[in-house]
Symmetry: C2
Subunit: 150 residues, 2 copies
DNA sequence: CTTCGTGCAAAGCGTTTGCAATAAA
DNA sequence: TTTATTGCAAACGCTTTGCACGAAG
């Protein structure tokens, strides 16, 4: 009988690196935080605090909404999630996977895709020169209908 | 005695055209609305509903915050003001002077300048092709420090 | 055992709604 | 006179705070 060859595939998500980041910044790794990090690790949608709360309760039924808010606060502070604005007002959060990316958000199903706005640099430069402003942050979001919802 | 030559300069703002727009859409021209339109007509800052409220009370001391909200609602519906998002959350409103413009906002004094993001069209096209999305809206804002505050 | 995190309840804040009185058309 | 609009008070929803208990390091 031949030796079976197996491919062990590690599905990498950022869950572990996020926990490391929290830990190395002096934050305790509690089950509430692990639940929330886990949700973000497997998600390509913008989540509001309340949505996050309900999903987290399925993992850890005793978690409170307040803890969700406080955890988001830390994740945002560490640059692990980014705030996304909804046209109607209000906002949600999206996990950042490294570099700052611009987002394309489906109005219908809230699915998110990322794109790089590579020509933004020259525009910013031009605007800085013309206005005398020193640009610190930029916000670029597209919203529309994704291929499934259109 | 020579005939004196006078130059009469009309300082144009959009106040009158805004009132016409309101009126022709079946809205009454009340003193509350006139006050708010007047504030926007002479402003190059993003104003929150509360800021608008306090400024409006200096013109019309009996105006209520609720009226401010309801007036903003109409102005937004008619496309006369646009909502601007603050990084910290929350939002304000800025008068639109015609075409959709992108905004450059001073973090410090909230002064606003406008610029046109002329190369956004090709970026949107590219992103649509790559993603299969149908882009409906876009949001582009720069924030930083203006020439006076930097 | 020390420090940080939790959940609860309550407060806070900005926004919206119901309603009777009032002003515009 | 009809219809839209106002201001008030109260409701609302989301977010934050204070605090005593509990968990992580």
């Amino acid at each position: 009988m031949p030796i079976m060859k197996m491919k062990i595939i590690f599905i990498m998500n950022h869950s572990n690196s996020w926990l490391t980041r929290l830990s190395s910044n002096g934050y305790h790794l509690t089950s509430a935080r692990k639940a929330i990090v886990d949700i973000f690790a497997n998600c390509n949608k913008v989540l509001t605090p309340t949505e996050l709360f309900f999903q987290a309760r399925q993992i850890n039924p005793t978690i409170g909404l307040v803890t969700v808010y406080r955890t988001i606060e830390k994740l945002e502070e560490l640059g692990l999630v980014q705030r996304v604005f909804f046209e109607e007002g209000g906002f949600g959060y999206y996990p950042r996977n490294g570099a700052h990316e611009h987002l394309l958000i489906c109005k219908d199903c809230h699915r998110v895709e990322e794109f790089s706005g590579d020509d933004l640099g020259s525009l910013m430069q031009r605007v800085e020169n013309q206005s005398g402003f020193e640009i610190r942050d930029h916000l670029l979001q597209f919203t529309g209908l994704c291929s499934k919802c259109r």
